[in-house]
Subunit: 134 residues, 2 copies
DNA sequence: CGTCTTACTGATAACGATTGTCAAAACGGT
DNA sequence: ACCGTTTTGACAATCGTTATCAGTAAGACG
C-alpha cells in the first residue's frame, strides 16, 4: 500500500511552488534550506513516483533530469537554441495527433514521443551571420 | 589549428552509416568491433566537435546522450519499441511542415528537429498484457 | 626529406547525477 | 498500543561523461 508521508508531501508542495523546471538536487537543497531534514534519495524517489503517477513532468537537460509540477492540460515541447541553450516552450497539438495516429497504425501501444526542434535563436542567428563558426 | 585524423573521420563515417540515433558508447563499441583501436574519450570528443560544427544533432534520452548525423540523405523518423528495440521508419511530412513553421515563427534559423515515437511494438504489447511490469 | 611545434590521442582517474542497499523509523489497520 | 510493511536516510555503487597527462603524429617550414 502507498503511504502518505510528510516527505512525499513536502516534495509535492515544493515542486508545485517552484517556478518552472527544477532539478532533483536543487529541490533537495531548497528543502534542506527550508529546515527540512529530508534525504536526497527520498527526493529522487518521490519525484520518480510523482512522475509515474502523472503528477509531474520530467525532461533531461544537459545530463540532469528536471522536474515540473504537472498541469495536465499543458503537454508541450521545446524549441532549443543550439548555440546558447535557450529553450522556449511550444505547442504541438497537430503533432500529438499525428503521433497517436502513427503509433496506432503500426500497432504500437503506450506511445510516447520526443519532439524537439533545434536551431539558432534570433540573437544567435545574427551572431552567426556576422561571425560564421564553420 | 584543426587537424584531420583518421579517428575523427572514423567517427563521422560510423555516425553517418548508423541508422537513427546512437549513443557515444554504442558507437565506440561498434568501432572497436570493426577492428578500430579508437579510444572512448576520442569518440566523445569527436561527437562533441561534430555537434558543435553542426554536422550532428544530439538529444538525451534516459540519461544518456544520443547522436545522429545531420542532414541525412533520406530524412525520416523512427518508431521505436521500448522493450525489444525494434525500429520502423516513418514518414512525417506534416511534422516537417509544422516544424518549419514553428521555427520561423520564433525567429529560429537552421532548424533541425528530433521527432521519434517510443512505444511497445505489437508483439511486446501482447507480452506486456500477460505479464505487466508496472 | 627531416625537424619542430603543437594539437590529438588513449588509458585512466575524476566527476556528478542517479540508483541500490539495508538497518532503523514511521505509517495505518487492527 | 501492536505488528507487518513500507518508507526513510546515509552511504556505497553505478553509469555516463569529462579532465588529466604523457606519448604520438599532423602539418608547416626549411
Amino acid at each position: 500500500m502507498k503511504r502518505n508521508t510528510w516527505q512525499r508531501e513536502a516534495v509535492r508542495t515544493a515542486l508545485s511552488e517552484s517556478d518552472g523546471f527544477i532539478s532533483a538536487q536543487a529541490l533537495h537543497g531548497q528543502l534542506r534550506d527550508g529546515g527540512s531534514t529530508i534525504g536526497l534519495a527520498t527526493v529522487y524517489r518521490a519525484l520518480t513516483d510523482l512522475t509515474d503517477e502523472g503528477e509531474a513532468d520530467s525532461l533531461t537537460q544537459d545530463g540532469e533530469a528536471l522536474y515540473r509540477a504537472c498541469t495536465p492540460d499543458t503537454h508541450h515541447h521545446h524549441l532549443i537554441c543550439r548555440r546558447c541553450g535557450a529553450t522556449e516552450e511550444i505547442e504541438a497539438d497537430p503533432v500529438e495527433e499525428w503521433a497517436r495516429r502513427i503509433a496506432a497504425e503500426h500497432g504500437y501501444t503506450r506511445a510516447e514521443h520526443v519532439v524537439d526542434i533545434f536551431g539558432l535563436c534570433p540573437a544567435c542567428s545574427r551572431l552567426s551571420e556576422s561571425a560564421p563558426s564553420a
